[in-house]
Amino acid sequence: MRLSCTVNGTPQQVDDVWEGESLLYVLRERMGLPGSKNACEQGECGSCTVYLDGLPVCACLVAAGQAQGREVGTVEGLTPAGAAPGELHPVQQAFLEAGAVQCGFCTPGLLVATDDLVHRSLAEGRKPADAEIREALAGNLCRCTGYEKILDAVRLAADRMAADPTAEAAR
């Protein structure tokens, strides 16, 4: 079947999509967007987290056809269009600086989940509390870092995005 949807603000269309295929497979294998990772294909690890109509979801659990006509945002879309080469989104920059990236497999999903959390909190005029960070990232597994540096990165990103509210997001 044919699938049309918007990915990171750009209309995309792909043909010959198998009806049982996941959105994750479409993104990685048909649209050339391998940022979202496939680690478990059962919703357990969160490494495939993308925005679907503005909400973070596991792309491995969305049937391709369910994304028809919808807006998808992936880790590739975090950096605003027109950013200088190498320029990173504040969440990405914070993960790098805090040492929250080791093998990096969990990172794309964590970046999207963090971006969502920070935006939701800042929209309410506050930074996320530690308990909220843990809750928001409960669906994102990391087998390398032990999470402490990830928590540091989220706090750092929230501080910077609070200071500079113009930082753009993929959704």
């Binding site: 294909e41 919703g43 491995c60 056809g65 409960a138 669906g139």
Partner: protein, 291 residues
């Protein structure tokens, strides 16, 4: 495989009547796992996410009519005050990503003994509204579960909604798993106190072939509370303990990878005692929701 995307409820029911082996897909959090692992190869996937009626909830004749396709995240954010027991259960489900997609309708149709919506729905005397081109019927949730992952849904029917009367008394939900997020329940317990009817509702999860109530525990507690509803006096500790024992006696658990039968029985007695203690404390404070 075919993929159908009905845009209206009528179209969805017609599609299901015409293709009885079609597998409906809502949030996909059960269905896609099955497809990704090759366990499920339906001839037709029936996507229900475009049917507007399923994505809504409304007050209807004294009850909240919760569309089968409303995701858990919205049950929590929009109905936490009206349906506190179900919202508490929803908060324990999966992760934010899962709660943004997973639905009560999907939980019901999967009818896993471990589904977290079930104990809350049982305790609240919910009704499941199912429909087909033949018509609509309401099934008391106690009669909905027919066996391990089997329900009263006929092969041409879809779940339209669940109907739950917003409670007049406190509700609680308690779940035991290996961590605080992302766990299938080892055992779970839902409680609703109904001071208006002087009745008690219970729901047991993950400790029998189907979700089930604990009728003897309900009767016992309703009897003990008979003199206490009006006085709102302290609940004797022995009453809470006995209630816990009776809830545990209503279970019929098995040993499996998540826990032993013995552990589940013990866990249930503790959860039921605690849930009652919390709920009664809320009732004494006069807090009707304790959400």
């Amino acid at each position: 495989m075919d993929f159908l995307q009905p845009a209206t409820w009528e179209e969805a029911l017609e599609a299901k009547a015409a293709h009885r082996d079609a597998v409906p897909i809502a949030g996909g959090t059960d269905v896609m796992v099955g497809i990704n692992f090759g366990r499920l190869r339906p001839s037709l996937l029936l996507d229900l996410t475009r049917v507007p009626e399923l994505q809504q909830w409304a007050d209807d004749d004294g009850a909240v009519r919760l569309g089968a396709g409303v995701p858990y995240a919205r049950v929590i954010s929009e109905l936490g005050d009206r349906l506190p027991g179900l919202a508490m259960a929803a908060r324990t489900i999966g992760s934010p990503q899962i709660r943004n997609r997973g639905t009560v309708g999907g939980n019901l149709a999967t009818a896993s003994p471990a589904g977290d919506a079930h104990p809350a729905l049982l305790a609240a005397d919910a009704e499941v509204e199912v429909a087909s081109t033949r018509g609509t019927r309401r099934i008391p949730v106690t009669e909905f579960y027919r066996g391990v992952k089997r329900s009263a849904l006929a092969d041409d029917e879809l779940i339209a909604a669940v109907r739950i009367v917003p409670p007049r008394g406190p509700q609680q939900y308690s779940k035991i798993g290996t961590r605080n997020a992302m766990v299938i329940a080892v055992a779970a317990f839902g409680l609703a106190l109904h001071p208006d009817r002087r009745a008690v509702g219970t729901g047991i999860g993950s400790a029998a072939p189907t979700p089930r109530r604990a009728p003897a525990a309900e009767e016992y507690l309703a009897g003990e509370l008979d003199g206490l509803w009006d006085s709102r006096a302290e609940l004797p500790a022995a009453t809470a303990t006995r209630f816990g024992e009776l809830v545990a006696e209503a279970s019929a658990p098995i040993d499996d990878v998540r826990g032993t039968a013995r552990y589940r029985v013990h866990a249930l007695s503790v959860m039921a005692r605690r849930a009652l203690t919390w709920a009664w404390a809320d009732y004494r404070k006069g807090d009707p929701t304790c959400a």
